[in-house]
Symmetry: C3
Subunit: 213 residues, 3 copies
């Protein structure tokens, strides 16, 4: 069986673009809320979409970065920002957090699973690989929040987010060690992450609160 | 023709020092405004001057860093901070943003052009090389603002800044591909950046504003 | 003479764990003060303990990171966070800055000395090696404060902290160049840093203040 039959490869490509655009949109919205200028909006959108993967590659010492090999991603962010700008001005359209919550969950799952797989192939131990998947999925948003002068939502939202990516990463490790197929591991990790995140949002699960009175 | 006749090399060296000191001064001033201690002032000044080039070298996986090869730069930052401290206390001298706006523009141009050239030599594609030039020129100031707990001015000032560096980087790419001389490319990129930045400041050009009401 | 007699090696190991836990605790406390969720508390604790060494390794291009080779450190941070959480809830226990000031000083000294030694072995010039020691010792706390949206205490506290690490780094350089024993250099650098920090805290020494009126 070929590792990537055509339909699966197409599905993965579509999912990757959806995830990247969702992350970029979340950066774009926070930048607009913070009244950044057009340059700031493009940079924060790009940082949200590519920051996690870039940080993972710096930590793993991998080059070239994936956005260096695929310049179309960089142009897509610029195009997205220009389109969003025209669209928002013309229609009093307000993108809400609600609108991107599902693509964002998809991005969380895909980036966590692919980041874990990449680290496993280095090879790195399972725990570190899963952490690299979490970095890939979560630190784009963390960098977005740091640049926008906010405490990262991933660390203060109280609804599990990084935890879903962490669980998805372990699913990748489990399937990968049992079966060896990267495709199966990628799908399992993505599905588990998205499923957990959907449960979190649906049941309004909360992480335990910490207080120092 | 030798690539770097003596007078040109001297001019470049003077410009590099002027640019680095201007960046360091802008860090020094923001650190003093934020009432950092003497260590904070030196660190923020150094981060502003060297942060962009260091981040570029981390992204390109280049070692050693330029400030490792040239320890005199590190000592110069320390000396600058000590002198500025004595000077400011003794004379009620207030360095204003106005005073460093021209050296800062020179630094923007030089760092953008040299960063683009370094990336082109790796070799990297033109778009990525130009982005590396922008990182070199702009991210020292971005790191300064993040450490000082401000939204980066480069993303929220609304007067084009990174855009000038971006244009200058493309001038480097154009001259480099036509002619092959690194010196000509460096000069063209620096001049275009400085010229655009001067126009921005003179005509008070503004980037389009983003609003979510 | 063997480089690491058994008792010394044991002492160093104990000191390293004490230092790492002190740094993690300081992250844990700041994260709790900022009302981060459980994920944020674990991440900030880990960033405080490992951030400085990781940044040093990225700058020096060293792999694998020490916490990749020693997964027990990662698990220890998670365990510490869980224990602290249960403990704080059950007993109205408030960890204060006072409680960690001595382990923190020990961590400052150990990380500064070991970071300097690692850089000297690369080999790098003395000044740069000392700066790498300072990065190792201080930037975990700096990253903690940036993520928690504060101006880094190391740059604004006015009580010398990085300066003690800087002095300790030079002690490492001096002993290393005279004698060649890494163990003696490590001990000398750690002791000088801890001694200076103790003097700072005892005599309430202040760095000169910077003012722009």
């Amino acid at each position: 069986m070929p590792a990537h039959p055509l339909n699966l490869a197409t599905a993965l490509l579509v999912a990757e673009w959806a995830a990247m655009l969702a992350f970029a949109l979340s950066g774009l919205m926070e930048a607009a809320r913070k009244r950044l200028d057009a340059v700031g909006v493009v940079v924060v959108a790009g940082l949200t979409a590519f920051g996690g993967g870039t940080l993972r590659d710096v930590l793993l010492d991998r080059r070239p970065f994936f956005w260096v090999q695929h310049a179309q991603y960089v142009w897509a962010i610029v195009a997205l920002a220009v389109i969003a700008m025209l669209f928002m001005r013309g229609r009093h359209f307000q993108p809400t957090e609600r609108a991107i919550v599902w693509p964002d969950a998809l991005g969380l799952g895909l980036f966590a699973a692919s980041g874990t797989l990449i680290a496993l192939a280095t090879p790195l131990p399972a725990l570190v690989s899963v952490l690299m998947g979490v970095v890939t999925a979560v630190f784009g948003g963390v960098l977005r929040d740091i640049v926008c002068n906010e405490i990262p939502a991933a660390f203060s939202d109280h609804r599990p987010y990084a935890v879903c990516a962490f669980a998805g990463g372990w699913a990748v490790v489990a399937v990968h060690s049992l079966d060896g197929s990267e495709t199966a591991a990628l799908i399992a990790g993505t599905l588990l992450t998205v499923l957990l995140r959907a449960l979190v949002l649906w049941r309004n699960w909360q992480l335990p609160a910490w207080r120092i009175d």
